[in-house]
Symmetry: C2
Subunit: 248 residues, 2 copies
């Protein structure tokens, strides 16, 4: 055919009966190998903490590719309700770090006995170790948004889709990302001079790493186990729970 | 070296001074080409509505790969707080469809004049057209979760990360996904017999399509424009807004 294999073309008659045809580009079709690449990226993505980050800078070109991936995310009514604050300033990082310490001290209290001891030993962020931090905000449109009128949270969820795109893109570029959620939103907003209507969705630490762990650290340390698929999948409705392999 | 090129190995001395070395597998390193595959999948992913779905079944094998991608998503404290209800039952779909119609009639009222007219003409879901529907729920742990103690929403956001993994995996397998958010959560929960503590995060329509549009439909129809990167990216804090290309 002379066309690249990964694109599907449809033979379409130009004019009834003339016998003339043209090939219409229908869509980009991905190959089995390409699907496997995505599977590998998804499988090898990790949440990265401070003990893994290297003091190696991330180039503006790489950061641009991360942002481009984020900006291509789905969003409710194409509202694109995301704002990204890219932080390199060590003073700002230090303030955020203090905010984390305070919240983390409080958080430790919520776990009991041995689990509290284990919690206190965990390294849960890489704010000052990572060369780049990124605060990701949801910014409301201030008017009705198509698709968001029944479920307001579809706005913030769109921002999370952008974060996951960025996270996978980072992994594909061999860059680590850690999501810090042990922060008080209002304090972070004050530090970053965020508009009052904005909502902090995530605070990310971004940088090259010495290692991507083969399995999540919390799994390795025995803090939490992997859920079986059968525990998370239901068919047609909640009553009729079946083992996952009963389907099809 | 005889090792696959995409994995980085580190030469490590076994014992000081013996001169014996072993190669330690450090991590999967992705190539430039592999990163480009992810970029293409992200770029070509679309939200699919009912006028695009084909009446072609999706095999259990493909659905398994979608679920596997979802289950590999990051989650706060490795809590994996997701539950997926996979729906093929036409009766259930019909009930959800009615729920959509009701909410959509109400939603149309929120737009004015021409925009309301345009809204009423949009096809915004593919509930009965898609062979598979999937309701995705957040299920709270009922005890303190590491990383979720300051920002409760990190739980639901984990579920959205799983959805975005699934969405990209679907696109890589040339399967379309549409996210329906014009639904009343409580009604959907009743229809699906969902536990009261669960939160509906998304309702997805899944199936093969006649076409993935080259740009989002709402952009093509002039409903919403693409945001420029400069409008969404800030440096260090909100006060010091600079054009994105001023960085680096």
């Amino acid at each position: 055919m002379g066309f690249p294999a990964q694109t599907l073309y449809q033979k379409t008659e130009v004019d009834g009966g003339t016998g003339l045809f043209f090939y219409l580009v229908r869509m980009r079709t991905f190959t089995t190998e390409e699907a496997s690449v995505l599977e590998a990226i998804i499988f090898h993505r990790r949440d990265v903490r401070g003990n893994r980050f290297l003091p190696k800078d991330v180039s503006p070109d790489v950061l641009d590719r991360l942002l481009a991936a984020a900006l291509q995310a789905p969003s409710v009514g194409l509202s694109q309700p995301w704002e990204f604050v890219m932080i390199r300033d060590t003073g700002v990082k230090q303030q955020i770090r203090e905010c984390f310490e305070e919240e983390n001290d409080r958080a430790g209290e919520l776990f009991q006995g041995e689990r509290q001891e284990q919690y206190r030993q965990l390294k849960l962020e890489g704010i000052t170790e990572a060369p780049v931090n990124m605060a990701v905000f949801y910014t409301p449109a201030g008017r009705p948004v198509l698709g968001q009128t029944s479920m307001q949270e579809a706005g913030p969820y769109s921002v999370v889709c952008a974060i996951q795109n960025l996270w996978l893109m980072a992994r594909a570029l061999n860059v680590g990302v850690g999501w810090v959620s042990i922060l008080q939103e209002e304090k972070v907003k004050t530090i970053l001079h965020a508009p009052p209507q904005n909502r902090l969705i995530a605070y990310l630490c971004i940088g090259y790493v010495d290692e991507f762990l083969t399995t999540p650290e919390l799994e390795q340390l025995g803090w939490e186990k992997r859920k079986e698929k059968t525990a998370a999948v239901f068919y047609d409705r909640y009553q009729s729970k079946l083992p996952a392999n009963a389907e099809g």
